[in-house]
Amino acid sequence: MDYKALGLTAGIEIHQQLDTAEKLYCRCPTILRNIDERNGEIRRYLRATVSEMGVIDRAAEEEMKQMRFFSYYAYNTTCLVENDDEPPTPMNPEALQITLTIAKMLSMTPISQVHTMRKMVIDGSNTTGFQRTALVAMNGIAGGNCIIESICLEEEAAQRVTDKTFSLDRLGIPLVEITTAPCMHTPEEVKEIAEYIGMILRSTRKVKRGLGTIRQDVNISIRDGARVEIKGVQELDLIPEVVSREVERQVSLLAIREELRSRGAEVPQGELDVTDLFSSTKSKVLKKKAPCIMAATLKGFAGIVGREIQPGRRLGSEMSDYAKKCGVGGLFHTDELPAYGVTEEEVAALRERALAGDGDCVIIVSGTEQQATCAIRQALKRAGMALEGVPEETRKMLPEGSSAYMRPLPGAARMYPETDVLPVEITEEMMAAIDLPELLVEVAARFTRELGIDSALARHIAYSDRLPTFEKAIAAGIKPSLAARTLISTLRELSRDGVDCGGIPDETLIDLLLRVNSGEVAKEAIPDILRALAGGAPLEEAIQSVGPTFSVSDLETLIEGIVAERAEFIRDRKMASLGPVMGIVMKEVRGRIDGQIVADVLKRSIEKRI
């Protein structure tokens, strides 16, 4: 696609969890828990509050279509603040310090007096019904020419366990949100900027690492399209796909708009109860839901509702997304029927009842009367938008890179001051006192320069989660190559084999490497020892499990025997016998003593005999 011609503009928001000792507005540790460790559960309703204009924020209103009773798991590492039963503490100074450091790295200007706001979120992921967030700095630059609009410090939401159940361990972990201007124009460019900002963040050495600790939201629009925010892109590599699919979607929706307009299509309001038509249906889906089935006719929409707008997504899917907000499972439309057990006769009867002509499309939904009515109206709303083009929306990424509707883009009405938290002053002295950390790219260059590590591997190390381990290992006197190989290659290979070494503490890894360094443990034994450690064994036991270590004098005795047995062969072949005999020795000692030592001893032994 010619993105320039289509007028693609994109921006990103990067959400990165900070690795602070305590949460942003309480003093709980920022650690995640297993839900089995919960020690309490609280249950609450949330409701949107009315703004001074008598208006409920449109995003919040959407979330309110169902009255929802939420359940929250509490832990001994959460407190009454997460339970929304105690006022928040002042903003965590450590989190603010990290945020200011990032702002300085991005040449941003801090806000003189930072105000904590409440952003209304009533999907249950915040016990309060809002997320606390503060704009800390504005207007910087990333990677040479991408403008950074703002950096906000906000609290993480609770993790969803099931539909209406959340776990409070994650709620309140500090998170920075970095928003770029819409200054990117190709899918690849988006990825590059995201990558660069990620590197900046990790350079602080104060951000959380691992799955779910960083999330990208991408804002995309094309000319004549509309701004769409796609949330929850966790892998950088997927960003270009997400962007190009959204461009495709907007292009398709604009084409549909033109076709509908040319057909003179329209969306009459009003729903039709057609429950009786399906009283003896064989369709399992309709039967399952069924107290009420509602229908509506989309004039001039025939064939278009079923049209694909993105891989795996049709206009009908978009309408279905809207309908689902009312608690129904989805909708059917005559572009796809008969199907799902709905017969041709039923479709005919439906069309007749709905007074639908050949050019029209009929949609149906089933559920309780209230649900079905709500859902059909939502679907009609979305159908109406098709006549306008691309709606502004917040969407969530689907696994392959397509997206589904979440809610309208939230307006400013959802944001109001957090009166329980005092504003914080940011002075020039505070900014001046911040030491900028060494960028990871610089770290990598230094590794190559100072440790003689190959530049690709150095980059790997610098960007890896094990960077601090590596640095500790070097400080402890471990050979850089050993440390790099073990911490990068070996661990990655094990990870590919499904061995999760994430739980092995740095201290244990360094202890192991020190033993290898001293020859106490053979380099070759490392993978097997790591497997044992990953399985939960203590280091001593892990080492023992691989086999007792083999001392140099043991080795000498062994080699003496082997060489003696093969004295003739050695005398014949001289040093050329080294290879074959080495093989025989290694069979005995592999993984129990360093191969280099074996080679040295064997070589000396052979030399004595020739």
Binding site: G54, D84, E86, Q113, T127, G129, N139, M415, P423, E425
Partner: protein
């Protein structure tokens, strides 16, 4: 500059347009179009144009004339409030229409009349306002209210409810309600508390009570007898707890089923009556080790003094002389306990027997705060020392539970 004016300022070399909100610690607080507030030095702010007048619109409210008439009396609580999203200010709303439009389900429970004798933070309550409030409730009942709901800040709600309880014999429920989490947040307890209080205001109850969350969950409200309840947590939803007594009722949510306790006083069990004189010259003091007896000198002009003593109702011997003097000079002294739970018994130890000899009145199992309010009321009714003693030791409004039942 005034709130709502459009202004601009420069941040990081870029000009940002914003709305001026207010001054805070010598900074101009501006709202950006993203909704974020920021504080910047006034010197950096340029006035662009005046703000437009924005006017709130209430949707029209229709009340069902077949439902029982309930009175809502607001004293400044935030049972129904609205946030000004620009300033963050919370506006309390107190007309029937405003309240119903904030909590629409109320309209399915009753027909509402409202009244607002004053609007204050509850820590600024004082005895003269209790009297005003009691009169206002009395008027509403006389005017035919089937039940009365009093919205009140939680800090001193128990004191006020207790005061009304002594001043007013009520044939209908008089239910105090508040919220622990402000009404401007989606998780506020105000809606559930308000709906439950309306349900119990319609029920077969004839006493003054407080209706608040029974647990930290949105599952039921507990209705506490005014004289036995205490705010026992600074911030939890279930902060209000009956001490030494069971709640008189519970109301489940969201179905609003009211279950009355066997001890609850029914509708019409008391005839409407108001005895609204209170002696304000009363105080409550807590004893602690090493308390300087000279502190009691501040109370020589007081007509009543409640002491929250240690354990069964004790104070250090050093205070005894001053206590004797106060009693001799006509101050009524009532002993309660800082333990809160359990009964004062000054017959067991020497210190207690000395207090009794000095003329101190045992406050039985009354909460210290309730004893203070009761003493103000009793001293407003009589000057006869024997009558005062008798009234203080008699159970008038559930403030004294004669038996300490196990399990409470």
């Amino acid at each position: 500059m005034k709130t709502g004016d459009v202004v601009s300022c420069t941040i990081g070399g870029k000009t940002v347009e914003a709305v001026y909100i207010t001054e805070r610690d010598e900074r101009a607080v501006l709202k950006l179009s993203s909704g974020y507030n920021i504080g910047v030095p006034f010197s950096e702010v340029l006035h662009v144009r005046d703000g437009e007048e924005r006017k709130g619109v209430e949707p029209p409210v229709v009340q069902d004339s077949k439902l029982p008439e309930l009175a809502i009396i607001s004293t400044g609580g935030t049972i129904a409030s609205r946030v000004d999203y620009r300033t963050g200010a919370v506006t309390s709303r107190s007309t029937a229409d405003e309240i119903i439009s904030a909590i629409p389900r109320l309209a399915t429970i009753g027909r509402f009349r409202t009244s607002q004798p004053f609007s204050i933070l509850s820590e600024n309550m004082k005895p003269s306002m209790w009297i005003e409030l009691a009169r206002c409730i009395y008027d509403q009942i006389q005017a035919g209210a089937h039940g009365v709901i009093v919205t009140h800040g939680t800090d001193t709600m128990a004191y006020s409810a207790s005061a009304v309880s002594f001043m007013l014999d009520t044939p209908v429920p008089v239910i105090f309600v508040g919220s622990q989490r402000s009404a401007d947040r989606p998780s506020s307890d105000n809606v559930m508390n308000a709906l439950c209080s309306a349900a119990v205001a319609s029920a077969n109850l004839g006493e003054v009570a407080i209706c608040m969350h029974g647990t930290v969950n949105d599952d039921y409200c507990a209705v506490h007898r005014a004289t036995r309840v205490r705010k026992m947590h600074t911030s939890r939803r279930d902060a209000f707890q009956s001490i030494g007594a069971e709640p008189v009722a519970t109301v489940t949510y969201p179905d609003l089923e009211v279950s009355l306790h066997a001890d609850a006083i029914g509708r019409e069990a008391q005839k409407l009556a108001l005895r609204d004189t209170m002696e304000e010259k009363c105080a409550l003091i807590s004893y602690y080790p090493g308390m300087d007896p000279a502190i009691l000198d501040s109370y020589t002009s007081y007509r009543g003094l409640v002491i929250a003593g240690t354990g069964l109702g004790h104070v250090g011997t050093a205070l005894m002389e001053r206590i004797r003097e106060l009693v001799c000079n006509g101050t009524t002294i009532v002993m309660t306990t800082q333990c809160l739970h359990g009964r004062v018994c000054d017959r067991v130890y020497d210190t207690g027997r000395d207090l009794l000899r000095a003329g101190v009145i045992e406050g039985e199992d009354m909460l210290p705060e309730t004893a203070l309010v009761k003493l103000m009321w009793v001293l407003g009714q009589t000057e006869n020392p024997e009558e005062i003693r008798q009234l203080m030791q008699e159970n008038l409004k559930g403030e004294i539970v004669r038996r300490s039942v196990y399990g409470l």
